[in-house]
Symmetry: C2
Subunit: 190 residues, 2 copies
């Protein structure tokens, strides 16, 4: 009755971390079966065997990556409230510089592009990752913020815009925009 059967040393659960490591390093565009299999120490045959098809593998992988991203966020970010919205932004943008987060940001735009083209499995993963970030933002909002929920979404919008501009080499515009929007204080016209 002891269910402690040796079990195969290879399963979805043991494969996914290795596959994730590979796509974080090399991107989803290069994620074809044979390179993935090599990275996981197995064969394309086995990947199909375990996941059924490449599409299913990618969907499982994205879902795993969303969970891994959540774990990385939890591990790397504090949960103390900030004193101002500007400080919330500063914290998350500083976080974007941390080396272990950069593969996620590189991968992120491939996921967004996949969403825009309607690829299956992409939208749920993207939404899960944004949900996670939004949760963290809400927890960071200053205690005296007049609208923590709306403010968190406002900051989320700014953050993602700034990350996109940074990705294409327009980071200076993003910084100027954040300064103009956040540091203008009460003088921001509607």
């Amino acid at each position: 009755m002891a269910r402690a059967k040796k079990q195969s040393p290879m399963s979805k659960d043991s494969l996914l971390p290795l596959l994730a490591r590979h796509v974080l390093a090399h991107g989803l565009g290069q994620a074809s079966l044979r390179p993935l299999a090599r990275a996981a120490g197995t064969s394309d045959r086995m990947l199909i065997y375990h996941f059924g098809s490449k599409n299913a593998l990618i969907a499982d992988l994205l879902s795993y990556l969303a969970r891994a991203y959540a774990a990385a966020l939890d591990a790397a970010l504090g949960s103390a409230r900030a004193r101002s919205r500007a400080e919330v932004i500063a914290r998350i943008l500083a976080q974007g510089e941390v080396p272990e987060m950069q593969p996620y940001t590189a991968l992120w735009w491939e996921i967004v592009a996949g969403c825009a083209r309607g690829k299956p499995g992409f939208a749920p993963a993207a939404q899960a990752m944004i949900d996670e970030l939004l949760d963290w933002l809400e927890g960071q909002m200053p205690a005296d913020d007049p609208d923590p929920a709306g403010g968190a979404r406002y900051l989320l919008t700014l953050i993602e815009g700034a990350m996109m501009l940074a990705a294409i080499g327009h980071g200076a515009s993003a910084r100027a925009g954040l300064d103009a929007g956040l540091l203008a204080g009460g003088r921001v016209p509607s």
Copy 2:
């Protein structure tokens, strides 16, 4: 001396619009030589002949698309100043709904993903498109805006963040964020 030689009916200039139409419809991911050639009424052989390599073709194509995007923006957008920053955002987001602009937004995220992976030719095209949008935004800023340049960059950041959230199906968060950020008027904490 009459330079009106018949000239070949096929050249980069005549091919690029047809190639652009194809990638706008089907995405950069499906942009391999044979489908592109079919869309342009020629052969892969001829594409290589005219552009030298696929990389060069993509680079030329992205540069052409950036110019086409600028032309589409000019044609579709007015140049009258808005009365408020919120109105500027409303105009550009309404523009995003216009059918002839949607292929560009779908393509946009593939370009961003290419930038994030350092693909050659992607960053200049992305920067050109953002420069164009930024120019238009600066021209739209209200006459009484205290900081038109910074404000335009601020709005650009918000717009791109909102478009990204919309692309992944998180448009509601983006709308809530814009409302919280722009409609709060002078009560926005810094």
